[in-house]
Amino acid sequence: MITVTINGKEIKLEKPVTVLEAARSAGIKIPTLCYHEQLEKYGGCRLCLVEVEKMPRLQTACTLMAADGMVVRTETEAIADVRRGVLEFLLINHPLDCPYCDKAGECELQDLVEKYGPTTGRFKEKKRKAPESLEDPVLVRNMERCVVCTRCVRMCEGVQGAAAIGVINRGGHSHVEPFSGGRFECEYCGNCVSACPVGAIMSRLHRHSYRPWQLVSETETICPYCGVGCTLVAQVRDDVIKRVVPRIGTPVNNGLLCSRGRFGYEFVGSKERLTTPLIKKNGVLEQSTWEEAIGFVARRLGELKTRYGGDAIAGIASPRCTNEDNYVFQKFMRVALGTNNIDSTARTGYAGAQAFIENIFGQGATANLIPGLANADAVLIAGGDPTAVNPILGLQIRSCARKGGNILTIGHVKGVRHYNPAELKPNVHTEAALLEGVVTALKEKKGLPGSIQTLESKIKEIHRPLDDAARTCGVTEKDLAAFVEALSTASTPALVIGKEVIQSAGGSYNLLLLSAVAYLVNARIHLLSERANEQGVVDMGCAPDLLPGCRPLSYVEFRRRYEAAWKSPIPEKQGMTIFDMIDAAKAGSLRALYVMGENPVFNLPNAKGVEAALRGLELLVVQDIFMTETARMADVVFPALSWAEREGTFTNMERRLQLLRKAVNREGMEDWRIVVEVAGNMGVRMHFSSAEDIFAEITRVSPLHRDLSYEELEKSGIYPYKGEPLRGVTGDIAVAKPAAGDGGGLFLGIERPLFHSGTLSRRAPGLVKIYETAVARISPATAAARSLKEGDMVRVSSVIGYLELPVAVDFAVRDALVMITNNFEGRGALSLMELVLDPVLRAPVADKTAVTIEKAGR
């Protein structure tokens, strides 16, 4: 126990803290500027100077550790003079342009001057000048206002880990800039914006559009973009989201956001939002009324059900919609339409991979805390760049590296390249051979633990000596051995699995090998998730073989229990997966498709094929917030409320349940309400009047969600659940090994950029300004071999189509790949991709599409 006396008040401290922290804990205020609770100590601004008995000089409270018996004074006349002096120094070169500055009202300098500050100006010389910089798409810099506290720099380097900016020059010429000058060209997380105490780095999105004190409301909700599930605060005025900020202390992201979360909110207020229901008449979508559209859909569904049976109808749910939407939607499909034909794009990787892993390790095997990654002593990354797919999770990996953890990657992972990763870069299509080598070596080093027999019998079959693996994959044996050594000596390792290893020829085999690695070294598994409620859509039973809570439909007892709860029979027959649905539509056996918040014509491989298949439907219903490629084909389009306009819950990749709160008002209906209305018109009453009602039913029906309430979620999210996970269903482990690798040539790869997320981000102008258009990303070697340079227009062709795109030469791309994103209208990578499925995961194989690339236009 340490006792210090501050301003005569005795303060007892459990653990060593700074004098500043000690003072704050006792409610004593000491002014600060360079101090920031999330950042390393700095001691530069000198505002927090205090008197300490027996110390000859004044001391900075933010750096001085409180020692037993210390006597501190913070409010003497001398200290007041010091504060005035420091503030005067800060102001002599300050432009004093508060009326024009967006920070005014929440500026730490302004507040300090108001409280302690100098009144008369004694500085008679010319002030430093620096023009306002609008070089960056989402940031505005005004270095005349910079107080050189370096909070932004410490944030960028020590927390975000991007090290994009620094204090350039010295003395009075100090200012913040990227090392190369000019644009930041950084990760645009905007965490420096949060860190800046003054108006020197701010968001451009709300520039000069409001004053902070004019904000009407602040709503804490969950980011709509990825599976991390960051808490964000939407600040609103005139029913428009003016700004999105993070909040310190929230469980997943603790004061941080990524570019999408911070700058991607503008789609909510987009003029392109759908406003009224539309019905196709004579081939043209025309405005309609809710009554008419709902009546029409209910009638048509009823007719088709009667004529062809419920199994001729299918539904596609959405990893962007809430649990409540998805729950209602699958219940609607099962109860009102009498079919298990319900699935989502989680099928394209996440769902199958999770099922595979849970089949081995039990339910919840991937429900691991994201911040826990920072405390791992080794992180193995396979199948993607976590810092782009799930940026805030990526930060935890960087933090792990900073604390001395080993980062091991299969393939080049751009976002951790500055963290001294042990990289193995196998030739294209040899990942499995590499992992076989790793498993074989680990098996020898660590032995089999003996706890999961089904897995061990598979592991016993794996045999590939290191030298053979190294030769096959084109890596050195030394590197491979070192990699294995680092893995085998880790005591708290983690494994991060991205979509690239799942959506691969032999995806299930890759997952078996990765599971084997995790098993042998006892690693926690994190499954990257690209959509905000990808876990939730699965957990709600939006799958042809699962009921809510991930209970298999094939178990009669489960089915009976749900039938009792729903007071309705549930069909026994497994439904169609999303890909089966497309096939069945093509074959003519599927007559109607109801799509809620999804865009299959863009988000599934072979877009043209999907489009052709859907054209044969008798009824296509789409609920969305924008006129998507799929909506354009629909017979009926319902405009839904967006994420910001409603309540509900998301389940993140940790299986943390979190509450979405309504930030802005808009006329219209939530997805679930539209479905409830349609069901009602079909004579099936669903008695829900709010999202909370639905949640109450979920917690009664799903064993996984048992005993939860909004009230409880209100405080903070629930991790991971309170109900029972499913155990002991482990059957045999089915895998499909990949066919032997094929030779040279180029293959299509899907780029998953930090700044985009499917089709949502293309309506967010901030994000589009950062990453404006689709490009064909190729390695310098690929470019050189074809005499291509940055910006050249090329035609990338596969057997099913082509795209014309500008070239981007990128050292991080592998030589055998052409990387294209799937975000921009008419330019999605998936439009080039043939649909081939892994027989076990039933996820598409994305790495086998051969492409050619040539100069366009001739």
């Binding site: 000198r46 620094g166 003395g171 009075g172």
Partner: protein, 423 residues
């Protein structure tokens, strides 16, 4: 007194290892390696050796802290940044007597358990870089550096790192930052470098001259060493004298030689028989002294009692023709330029002082400017992160303290009376 630090420097080949050995070099090293390392520290303590970098910190104390820290490896850094204006005392050692420094570093490294050393060399000393590198390779070839020194288990590796021209990098923690590849700015203390220094390991930073004392000190023993010069602060000391004296240059004299003696006896008095106007005794950061105050022993303990500091021992002598407002202005220009920008008072205050001084100097001073200078300096002093900012403020305060009328006259006469008279 026999020369210790500047021994042999008239020999044009003094930097060569053979010449150095011929004059008795590297004998102390073999003596030292036969001693227990804690006994070496004991000798240094008995000798009362204080650091020559400016602060006069007791060397044995610093070494005891570092050697007592359980972390390994430990590092020994030689501060050869020599950036204090007026200072050129380390340069002759670096250029003429590099093996003396190397021998001193190996002994020190052995004493405190450091196996790696760096010489952080002032960027503007390119000649010294080549000389040092050559001497280091000679020392490696002769088995005085590397693994198994003199056939013993002792190892010590040494490399030169050249600075990029920032004065602040002479401050030991900024030096460490710079050595690690970061921007040269001081670090928060504690932790002190002796515990968490370069690469987060225990680190001793000592000045060139400090380390160059070691061979001699070990050779004659701590007690004998302690009898040289001032009893409270013994040893030989290099004073570098510039300005208006007959014989400017470097002088190795016993510590505590009086400033008056240095100027009038050793340097031959004021050039051309002019009158002395002011002396800066220890580099630009130390308080200026008027002529009536120069009868003071030049050592770390006594100078503060006489209103100044020994600093780097760089004596800058100014005769009656010098405009002290201009000198003060020039000094502040230096501090403004060299302020690293980390802390507010120094970053903003040095520039402000400079601009006020600038307008006084150029004849545009306003009434109240002298008080304004004192007020601004007062807002800096004692509030900065490191001593650089304090230095800037104290220089201003001391020039005004001793020569206020000259400042006032500048304002009144709209310029330099002294200079106008001369024209």
């Amino acid at each position: 007194m026999e020369k210790v630090l500047l021994k042999n420097i008239e020999n044009p080949h003094s930097a060569d290892i053979d010449e150095y050995k011929k004059a008795g070099g590297y004998r102390s090293l073999s003596k030292a390696l036969d001693m227990a390392s804690k006994d070496i520290i004991e000798e240094v303590k008995k000798a009362g050796l204080r650091g020559r970098g400016g602060a006069g910190f007791p060397v044995a104390m610093k070494w005891t802290f570092a050697s007592g820290d359980p972390k390994f490896p430990k590092y020994l850094l030689c501060n050869a940044d020599e950036g204090e204006p007026g200072t050129f005392k380390d340069r002759p050692i670096l250029e003429k007597n590099p093996h003396l420094l190397i021998e001193g570093m190996v002994i020190s490294g052995y004493a405190l358990g450091a196996e790696y050393g760096y010489i952080y060399l002032r960027g503007e000393y390119p000649a010294a870089k080549d000389i040092l590198n050559k001497a280091i390779s000679q020392a490696y070839e002769n088995g005085y550096l590397g693994d198994g020194i003199l056939g013993k288990k002792t190892r010590f590796h040494l490399a030169v790192h050249q600075g990029a021209g920032a004065y602040i990098c002479g401050e030991e923690t900024a030096l460490i930052e710079s050595l690690e590849g970061d921007k040269g700015q001081p670090r928060i203390k504690p932790p002190f470098p002796v515990n968490v220094g370069v690469f987060s390991k225990p680190t001793v930073v000592n000045n060139v001259e400090t380390l160059a004392n070691l061979p001699y000190l070990i050779g004659i023993g701590g007690e004998a060493y302690a009898r040289i010069g001032s009893p409270e602060c013994p040893g030989p000391k290099i004073y570098c004298v510039s300005g208006h004296v007959e014989r400017p240059g470097v002088y190795e004299l016993p510590m505590g030689t009086s400033l008056k003696d240095i100027i009038y006896t050793h340097c031959g008095g004021i050039k051309g028989g002019k009158k002395l106007k002011a002396v800066i005794p220890g580099g630009i950061s130390t308080p200026v002294l008027p002529p009536e105050k120069i009868d003071c022993p030049m050592d770390f303990v006594n100078m503060p009692k006489h209103g100044s500091m020994l600093g780097s021992g760089a004596v800058i002598v100014m005769d009656e023709t010098v405009c002290l407002v201009k000198v003060c202005y020039r000094a502040l220009k230096f501090f403004e330029h060299e302020s690293c920008g980390k802390c507010t008072p120094c970053r903003e205050g040095t520039g402000w002082l400079r601009s006020i001084l600038g307008r006084i100097e150029s004849g545009e001073g306003m009434e109240g400017d002298v008080d304004l200078l004192l007020s601004v300096a007062g807002n800096i002093i004692g509030k900065t992160f490191c001593p650089l900012g304090d230095g800037a403020a104290s220089v201003t305060q001391n020039f005004i303290k001793h020569f206020r009328p000259e400042f006032e006259a500048h304002i009144k006469n709209k310029g330099c009376g002294a200079r106008q008279e001369k024209l």
